[in-house]
């Protein structure tokens, strides 16, 4: 991902009030991590599994933080139990920032990723998760703000799937 796009994501998250982000490092959006790390507005929480990333974000959200769990696409499967258990069933708002690997617009799509990509939407829909697919930086701040408003209205996780220009 180009540096300008990484800055745009981080600026948009900050503008939307997201102030705690759990993460397992991944391959498409990773350029945003150093930017988040050096900005004291954010609490950046490295985790060992996307599963605990979701549950830690849930706990922090109940404690008053505006939270996101950042992961690569397969992390949605790793954390599906946690998304349903503490996110959906308990009703806790959080943003799922997902590197949408294996999707049609993924510029680095290979056999390593494609099976996750083609099943992602069905997986999210099976859990009742609202989502947006983001292919470029146009209107990014508005789209992230919309997702945060949606997660707060629903009191459930909402996913942003980053592909296209974000995967270069």
């Amino acid at each position: 991902m180009e540096a300008a796009l990484a800055e745009k994501i981080v600026g948009s998250l900050k503008a939307a009030g997201v102030n705690l982000i759990t993460f397992v490092p991944e391959t498409r959006l990773s350029e945003m991590l150093p930017l988040i790390e050096k900005d004291e507005f954010f609490k950046l929480v490295p985790v060992s599994s996307e599963a605990e990333g979701v549950s830690i974000a849930a706990g922090a959200a109940l404690g008053g933080k505006v939270c996101a769990a950042y992961m690569e696409g397969p992390g949605i499967w790793v954390s599906s139990y946690n998304i349903v258990t503490v996110g959906v069933r308990y009703g806790v708002p959080m943003l799922l920032i997902v590197g949408y690997v294996g999707s049609m617009a993924d510029k680095r799509n290979t056999f390593l990723y494609v099976e996750y990509g083609i099943k992602m939407v069905a997986q999210l829909e099976s859990m009742g998760i609202e989502y947006q697919i983001l292919r470029d930086g146009d209107g990014l701040e508005t789209k992230i703000a919309d997702a945060v408003r949606m997660m707060n209205a629903l009191k459930k996780p909402v996913a942003l799937l980053f592909t296209g220009e974000f995967t270069i």
Partner: protein, 199 residues
């Protein structure tokens, strides 16, 4: 050592500490003995420690107690390296290890009935204060320390399997009601809104 005895001793000493419990009998027993809005009885396996870590990070000035079970922690062992590296000084974790999946009704043994030592795993993950205790007096000492002192504390309590919780009438307070009571309590005591948005 019996878990119910531990809870019966600890519950009256709790003031504004936050408590997160996992599933199993401990949710029923703690819910029976403690009737505080500061209790978050999660009702799921493999989540209490992570949710407790999140709370401890979000509210570093509040003491957070997590009550885990061996079965629940075994489902989420990846929490332990994260716990060690985050090292939240306001978090105390008590793992009530009865070496059984009691909820199965056939008391199927967990890995801790075999060779597995959860305190040693936590120690190896980097949690400095990780101890294994077997006696009620040791529990009282650790719990008192957790109430009065700062510093991450991870205590594996080897307990006898007890089926007290099966004799307790289950609460009709559902998960959403528990969540809202807990969040509204935090909003009152922290003096800030937590859930954004008004109707």
């Amino acid at each position: 050592m019996i878990r119910y005895d531990c809870f019966e001793w600890l519950a009256p000493q709790m003031k504004d500490e936050l408590v997160v419990t996992s599933l199993s009998g401990q949710r029923v027993e703690w819910g029976h003995l403690s009737h505080r809005d500061a209790d978050l009885t999660l009702g799921s396996m493999g989540n209490a420690l992570a949710v407790g870590m999140g709370l401890a990070i979000a509210l570093p000035h509040r003491k957070v107690f997590v009550f885990e079970s061996d079965g629940s922690l075994l489902l989420s062992l990846f929490n332990l390296p994260t716990l060690a590296n985050l090292n939240p000084p306001n978090l105390a974790v008590f793992v009530f290890d009865n070496q059984k999946y009691s909820g199965t009704r056939i008391s199927w043994p967990t890995a801790t009935a075999g060779k597995t030592d959860l305190a040693a795993i936590a120690k190896g993950a980097g949690v400095e204060h990780s101890v294994l205790i077997r006696e009620f007096e040791e529990f009282k000492r650790e719990a008192t320390g957790a109430l009065k002192e700062s510093g991450l504390r991870f205590v594996v309590c080897k307990i006898e399997e007890s089926l007290v919780h099966r004799k307790i009438v289950r609460s009709n307070v559902d998960l959403l009601e528990t969540k809202y009571k807990f969040v509204r309590y935090l909003e009152r005591t922290e003096g800030k809104p937590i859930f954004a948005g008004r109707g």
